[in-house]
C-alpha cells in the first residue's frame, strides 16, 4: 500500500516537475514569475484533447502541442521581456498574467468551459511489480520528464547557448559586457520553457484523461512550490521538488483526506521558505533567484 502511494505520488510529481522546470528557467535567468505558464500548459492539454477527438494520431498531436507551446511562449517573450528593461520589475508579472487571462478566455470561446474527457487511442496498460500497479503511460511520462531534463542539463552545461544562459543567470550586465547576446539567449529560454510546459500539459491530459480551460492553475501553483522547495534556478531541484510535492500530496490524501492537501503542501513550502529559503539544492544556474 505504501509503495503504491509512493508510485502514484511520483507519477503526479513528474508533471509538477516539468512545470517547475519551466518556472525555474524564467525565474533563474530572468528573475520573474511567468504566470503565462499555466495558460500554455492548459492550451497544450486542450489541443491534445481536441486532436484525439478529431481522430488525429497521438504521434501527431503531441508534437503539435509542443510546437504550439513553443510558439505561444515566444509570443509572451516578445510582449513582456523588452518592456521589462529599465522599467518597474513587476511589469512581466502583470503582462504574463494578462496572457493567462487571454489564453483561458480564448480557449473558453473556442471549446467552452466544460471539463473534457480524453478518449485514449489505446487501452490503459499497466504493469505489476509485486503488489504495486504501475501505469505504463505514466511510467513513460516519468521517464520522459527525467530524460528531457537530463538533456536540458547537458545543453546548459556543454553548449554555447547553455553557457550564455548560465552567464545571464549569474549576472546579465557582466554577461553583456563579455559579449553574450542577451537578446538572442532570452527567446531561447522562453522556447525551452514553452516546450516543457506543453509537454507537462500533454502528459497531464493523457495521464488523467481530462482537460479543461482551468486545468493549468492548480498545477502551476504546485509547480511554483516545487521550484522553491527544490531551489530556484536549479533544474534538478525542480525535479526533486516536483516529486516531493507529488508524494506529499498523495500521502496527505491517503492519510488525512483530500481537503487537507493544501495545508500540507503549502505548509511545507512555508516551512522551507522560513528555514532554508534557497531550497533543498543550491542553484546550478548561477545566482538563481536568490536576490
Amino acid at each position: 500500500m505504501l509503495a503504491q502511494q509512493l508510485v502514484n505520488g511520483l507519477m503526479l510529481g513528474s508533471v509538477y516537475a516539468l512545470v517547475a522546470v519551466a518556472f525555474t528557467l524564467t525565474m533563474g535567468v530572468l528573475r520573474f514569475l511567468n504566470f503565462s505558464i499555466p495558460g500554455i500548459f492548459m492550451v497544450a492539454g486542450m489541443l491534445i484533447w481536441a486532436m484525439l477527438k478529431g481522430g488525429i494520431s497521438l504521434l501527431l498531436a503531441v508534437p503539435a502541442a509542443l510546437a504550439l507551446g513553443a510558439v505561444l511562449s515566444f509570443a509572451v517573450e516578445r510582449l513582456t521581456y523588452p518592456q521589462m528593461r529599465g522599467g518597474n520589475h513587476f511589469i512581466p508579472l502583470v503582462s504574463s498574467m494578462a496572457f493567462l487571462i487571454l489564453f483561458e478566455n480564448l480557449v473558453l470561446i473556442v471549446w467552452g468551459s466544460d471539463q473534457q474527457r480524453l478518449l485514449l487511442p489505446f487501452d490503459s496498460v499497466s504493469a505489476r511489480v509485486g503488489n504495486v500497479v504501475i501505469g505504463v503511460p505514466q511510467l513513460i511520462g516519468l521517464a520522459t520528464a527525467v530524460g528531457v531534463v537530463w538533456v536540458l542539463d547537458l545543453v546548459l552545461k556543454r553548449t554555447r547557448i547553455g553557457r550564455g544562459v548560465r552567464s545571464i543567470a549569474e549576472d546579465a550586465e557582466t554577461a553583456t559586457i563579455l559579449g553574450v547576446s542577451v537578446g538572442r539567449v532570452v527567446p531561447v529560454v522562453f522556447l525551452i520553457g514553452g516546450v516543457f510546459t506543453a509537454l507537462a500539459g500533454a502528459l497531464f491530459a493523457l495521464n488523467y484523461q481530462q482537460a479543461s480551460p482551468f486545468m493549468g492553475e492548480e498545477v502551476a501553483l504546485k509547480g511554483i512550490s516545487a521550484m522553491v522547495i527544490g531551489g530556484m534556478g536549479n533544474i534538478w531541484g525542480a525535479i526533486l521538488g516536483g516529486l516531493v510535492i507529488g508524494v506529499v500530496e498523495t500521502a496527505a490524501i491517503h492519510w488525512f483526506g483530500a481537503r487537507t492537501v493544501d495545508i500540507w503542501v503549502y505548509g511545507l513550502l512555508l516551512a522551507i521558505l522560513f528555514v532554508r529559503p534557497t531550497g533543498l539544492l543550491t542553484s546550478a544556474l548561477g545566482g538563481g533567484g536568490a536576490k
Partner: protein, 283 residues
C-alpha cells in the same frame, strides 16, 4: 438606484479597499500575494462573531479587522525575514494555508460554506471605502507615509538615512492586512454567505494587478486601478464572451505604454501645475 448598479458599486467599493490592502506593502517594497488569506480571516472572524456570539455586524467587522491585524503582526516576523520574490511566495503559501485550514474547520462550515447573519448594505460599505481612502491619504501625509515612500524609492538609502526599514515594512504589512480583513468582513456581511474556495490566490493576484495597473507611486493609483478592473469588464459586457480577451489585450497595451502604471507623480504634477509655484515642483 437599480439593483444592478448597486451590485457593481458594492463590488467596486470592496475592490478599492482591497487595492489599498495590497498597495501598502507594495509601497514598502513587498509584494503580498496572500491578500485573499487575510481577507478570508476577516470574513470568517466577523461572520463567526455575528453568528455564534450575537454581535452586530459593524462592531464585528471592526473586531475582525483587529484580529486580522494581530494575525498579520504574528506572521510578519518570520515572513518579513524573507525578501523579494521569496517574500511574495511566502505570503502566497501563507494565504493558501489559511484558506486550507478554514476549509477543514467544521465550526465555520468547512467546505460547504458559511451563511452569515447581519446584513450590511451599500451605504455602510461605501462609507468604509471612503474612510479607508481618507485614512490612507492622511497616513501618507504624515512622517510615516513619507518614510514609507522613501523606502519604496530606495531601500538602501532610506536605511542609511536612519529610517527603520524593518519597522516600516512590518507596519505597512500589518495595516495592509487589517484593511484586507475589513474588506473580507464587508464582503461576508453583504453577500450573507462565504466559502473558503472564494478566497483563492487568483483573487490575491488580481488585487495586486489593480495596484500595479493603477500605479504605485501615488495614493490615487490603486483607486483608479480598482475602478478600471471592476468597471471595464462591466462596460464590455455587451461583447459577452470576448470581454476578457479585450480586457487582457488592454492590460498588455497599458503595460507597454505606461509601465509605471496609469497614475504617476509626474502625471499629477503636470495636471496640477497651475496650482503651485515652480519652486515646489522639485519634490
Amino acid at each position: 438606484m437599480s439593483g444592478y448598479l448597486e451590485g457593481v458599486l458594492v463590488v467596486l467599493a470592496i475592490n478599492i479597499i482591497l487595492a489599498y490592502a495590497a498597495f501598502l506593502p507594495i509601497v514598502a517594497g513587498q509584494l503580498n500575494l496572500g491578500v485573499a488569506g487575510f481577507m478570508a480571516t476577516g470574513a470568517y472572524v466577523s461572520a463567526y462573531l455575528t453568528n455564534a456570539q450575537g454581535w452586530l455586524p459593524v462592531p464585528s467587522a471592526l473586531a475582525a479587522m483587529g484580529a486580522t491585524a494581530l494575525l498579520a503582526l504574528v506572521v510578519a516576523v518570520p515572513i518579513l525575514r524573507t525578501r523579494g520574490i521569496y517574500l511574495a511566495l511566502a505570503t502566497f503559501a501563507f494565504g493558501q494555508v489559511v484558506v486550507a485550514i478554514i476549509l477543514n474547520l467544521d465550526v465555520v462550515g468547512g467546505a460547504s460554506g458559511y451563511p452569515v447573519r447581519g446584513y450590511l448594505g451599500f451605504p455602510v460599505i461605501a462609507t468604509a471605502a471612503a474612510a479607508v481612502f481618507v485614512a490612507l491619504y492622511c497616513l501618507f501625509h504624515t512622517r510615516f507615509g513619507i518614510s514609507v515612500t522613501a523606502v519604496s524609492d530606495d531601500e538602501l538609502v532610506a536605511d542609511q538615512m536612519g529610517l527603520s526599514v524593518r519597522w516600516l515594512q512590518t507596519a505597512a504589512f500589518t495595516i495592509g492586512s487589517a484593511v484586507a480583513g475589513l474588506a473580507g468582513a464587508l464582503h461576508a456581511h453583504h453577500f450573507s454567505y462565504i466559502e473558503a474556495q472564494y478566497f483563492n490566490v487568483l483573487l490575491s493576484i488580481y488585487v495586486v494587478l489593480y495596484v500595479l495597473l493603477g500605479g504605485t507611486q501615488t495614493i490615487y493609483g490603486p483607486l483608479l486601478g480598482a475602478a478600471v478592473f471592476t468597471l471595464l469588464p462591466e462596460l464590455l459586457r455587451g461583447s459577452a464572451e470576448w470581454r476578457y480577451v479585450i480586457f487582457a489585450g488592454l492590460i498588455l497595451a497599458l503595460m507597454t505604454w505606461r509601465p509605471q502604471g496609469v497614475v504617476t507623480r509626474s502625471l499629477l504634477r503636470r495636471l496640477f501645475e497651475w496650482r503651485r509655484p515652480p519652486a515646489a515642483e522639485a519634490t
